[in-house]
């Protein structure tokens, strides 16, 4: 029961029906085999594939492999590292798991054992153990004499194994802390959210890579959704003239009504992205997503700005092959800064209006991405008003939560008077917004 509650806190919605199912699963399976219990519960409680990582973390907390630490081997650093090399070379998960336990046991402890203060730190363990540095030794232990590129493949594989080991250490540390503090606390705080709910502004590098990987499946999903909406919208008003014309064949009885044909309007899209350090991750992601969706639009043009504006459409197009390097290329090849590299909405909006206002026409939707933090400058509302006035629709996507709008140097609420502003903090929200906002 408390396991299900913990899951609910991490936005995995499991109703009482699911809980009953889970209980029946346990009755059928028994509690003997941990992996089977895990899979059985996953089958009955989960509804969506993205939930799996969260589920696994919570599961490890509530159904630990063992309780307490192992005290049989007083491990010293060097022998532990040596054992780890062997285990990584052999690629046996069970042994690595045991080593992760031993490592946390030996090095992870911080604070005194008194209530509340102490704990187990994965970071501390990994600092001491430094598994990355073992790469060469693992390769030597494998005595790999692969020809040419296979050596590279092998090296990548070992790297992934080491990353896997790091995760094991993290799980282990979480478990040990859970024993100390009560698992509800840990479950609430230490479980990482699934990638489509990660905040753009606080996402780490690995999480951003995860998000990028989700772009193509996501764009497919959005494209189908848009296409379905278009199809449904096609049926609609009756075309009186053609219906009457057709009814002549049936003696004036309108047997087959004729519907008005819609023009297949493929909208144009103009993106205006703040690429300054604070929000670059968000803008970057959105650029890639719209690029992936470009067959849904007749024309996509992208503009980036920090202090001044420049067109980056060609860079985004070329960037599809190497999504990770896109942001760096934009900064290198487009002229975005003038003096100090702080975002300046005043000037950027003005430059856009002066130079590229013809990009915004009556068929264009404009998306402005940015946190509206103008570093104290004038909002330049007239420029924004001109952009919005020219466009068919305009929206501002802000990666900050509405609580933070217009705090500090943010001008969000000023801009919101001119253009519709939406909060857009996670991939989940972004895909919702795109389906809702884009014209049919």
């Amino acid at each position: 029961m408390s396991f299900v509650e913990a899951l609910r806190e991490h936005s995995i919605l499991a109703g009482p029906g699911e809980t009953i199912d889970a209980a029946r699963v346990l009755a059928v399976l028994g509690m003997d085999d941990r992996e089977r219990v895990r899979e059985g519960l996953a089958a009955s409680l989960l509804r969506r594939s993205g939930q799996r990582t969260v589920f696994d973390q919570v599961f490890d907390l509530y159904f630990p492999v063992s309780v307490g630490g192992r005290s049989d081997e007083p491990a010293d650093l060097e022998s532990l590292r040596e054992q780890l090399v062997q285990a990584l070379a052999a690629g046996t998960a069970g042994e690595q798991q045991a080593l992760a336990q031993a490592a946390v046991d030996a090095f992870g402890r911080f604070g005194e054992g008194s209530q509340g203060a102490g704990g187990w730190s994965a970071y501390q363990t990994l600092q001491r153990l430094r598994p990355e540095t073992l790469l060469v030794r693992v390769l030597a232990a494998l005595r790999a004499d692969d020809p040419g590129f296979m050596a590279d493949v092998r090296r990548d594989e070992v790297r992934r194994q080491i990353a896997g080991f790091r995760r094991m250490v993290e799980t282990e540390a979480r478990r040990r802390t859970a024993e100390l503090r009560g698992r509800e606390t840990v479950a609430r705080n230490a479980v990482a959210p699934p990638s489509d709910r990660v905040d753009f502004l606080t996402a780490g590098r690995a999480q951003l890579a995860d998000m990028r990987r989700a772009i193509y499946p996501l764009s497919r999903k959005l494209a189908t959704r848009l296409a379905a909406r278009r199809r449904r919208a096609r049926r609609g008003e009756i075309d009186i003239r053609r219906t009457l014309r057709r009814s002549i064949a049936f003696g004036g009885v309108p047997v087959k009504p004729a519907f008005k044909r819609r023009r297949p309007g493929r909208p144009e899209l103009v993106l205006l992205c703040d690429m300054s350090g604070s929000v670059a991750g968000f803008a970057h992601f959105t650029l890639l997503l719209t690029q992936a969706l470009r067959d849904q639009f007749s024309k996509v043009r992208a503009f980036a700005f920090v202090e001044t504006t420049d067109e980056v459409t060609h860079l985004v197009k070329a960037g599809a092959e190497n999504p990770a390097g896109l942001a760096a290329r934009i900064h290198r090849e487009a002229k975005l800064t003038r003096w100090d590299g702080h975002s300046d909405y005043t000037h950027s909006l003005q430059v856009f209006v002066d130079q590229w206002l013809d990009a915004v026409g009556p068929r264009t939707s404009v998306l402005i991405l940015g946190d509206a933090r103008n570093n104290g400058g004038d909002p330049n509302l007239p420029a924004l008003r001109r952009i919005v006035g020219n466009a068919r629709r305009a929206y501002w996507l802000n990666p900050e939560s509405p609580r933070l709008w217009s705090t500090g140097d943010s001008l969000a609420n000023e801009y919101a008077t001119v253009v519709e502003m939406h909060e857009c903090r996670t991939v989940h929200q972004l895909s919702e917004l795109i389906t809702r906002l884009l014209p049919v």
């Binding site: 029946r24 992996e35 899979e39 509804r47 594939s49 499946p217 990770a324």
Partner: protein, 285 residues
């Protein structure tokens, strides 16, 4: 009950040519035990459809398949009256009364059972495969709810037909669209992903037994490396097997740069992906 234990599931599916992981074996066992439909989700080519086929083979059941597509409706999924035959029947018996004719043309003889009805009426063990459920319209999901919830179908003229023997139901989905919560709630959920390297190696050895051990191993390794890259479409099991077959046909007994470069098109289906893989793996041919 088709299976007695999780181990038996694994064993019998393996003998039907399908290697399972703990997740698959456990979930199949549970679906059988709890009598719930199994919803399998995952990227293309990881063996979702194959799983249903393997369960059918392993248990000696009949496989009934309903391929979903956009615009599929009740008449395609459930049942249909054979209008042409009904008309023939009416013209054949010209001088009988209306009551006789009506009673006669709405009988089993004129009913065309479609996959769902076939599966429900079948007295022998059946595996019902509803493929690519996400492609069907939302209305069809409502139809499935009745069928999968109670395993019964109502034909107004004949009455309600209840399953004499609950079929083992597998629904597959590529997740192009979220299925409705109501449907998901009735199912056990299984997410199939790319297998770990050990299982993949076993699968390659099973499907392409002629391929040598070292070649299969390096093959699986390279595919693993490709999946770690950020590609538009990561290679799936089906592609790995295709690749093994290709290499076999070419008579290659080990992987080297030239071979990989020449055959990369078998595993990667986008030009951009191919370029990227060539750069990252440093195979310049």
């Amino acid at each position: 009950m088709l299976f007695d234990s999780v181990d038996e599931v694994a064993q019998r599916l393996a003998s039907a040519g399908y290697l399972t992981s703990t997740a698959i074996a456990t979930t199949v066992f549970l679906a059988d035990r709890l009598g719930k439909p199994l919803l399998v989700e995952g990227p293309a080519g990881v063996g979702k459809t194959e799983l249903a086929r393997a369960v059918a083979t392993a248990t000696g059941s009949q496989l009934v398949r309903l391929q979903c597509y956009e615009g599929i409706d009740e008449a395609r999924a459930l049942y249909e009256w054979n209008h042409a035959k009904q008309l023939l029947r009416i013209t054949a018996g010209r001088d009988e009364s209306w009551h006789e004719a009506r009673a006669d043309i709405f009988t089993e003889e004129f009913l065309l059972p479609r996959p769902l009805l076939t599966a429900i009426r079948n007295p022998d063990p059946t595996v019902l495969l509803i493929d690519e459920t996400d492609k069907a319209d939302v209305e069809v999901e409502g139809l499935l709810l009745e069928v999968l919830g109670d395993f019964q179908v109502t034909v107004p003229e004949l009455g309600t037909i209840t399953a004499t023997r609950k079929p083992f139901v597998v629904l597959t989905s590529n997740a192009t669209r979220e299925l409705s919560e109501a449907l998901k709630r009735r199912c056990l959920f299984l997410h199939l992903d790319f297998p770990d390297s050990e299982r993949e190696l076993e699968i390659v050895r099973l499907k392409v037994p002629e391929v040598s051990g070292t070649l299969a191993e390096s093959l699986v390794r390279v595919v693993g490396a490709l999946r770690a890259l950020e590609l538009r479409k990561s290679p799936s099991i089906a592609e790995t097997i295709d690749w093994a077959r290709t290499l076999l046909a070419l008579g290659a007994d080990h992987l080297d740069e030239a071979v990989v470069h020449a055959t990369l098109g078998v595993v990667l289906k986008y030009e951009a992906d191919k370029k990227r893989a060539v750069n990252e793996l440093k195979v310049l041919g």
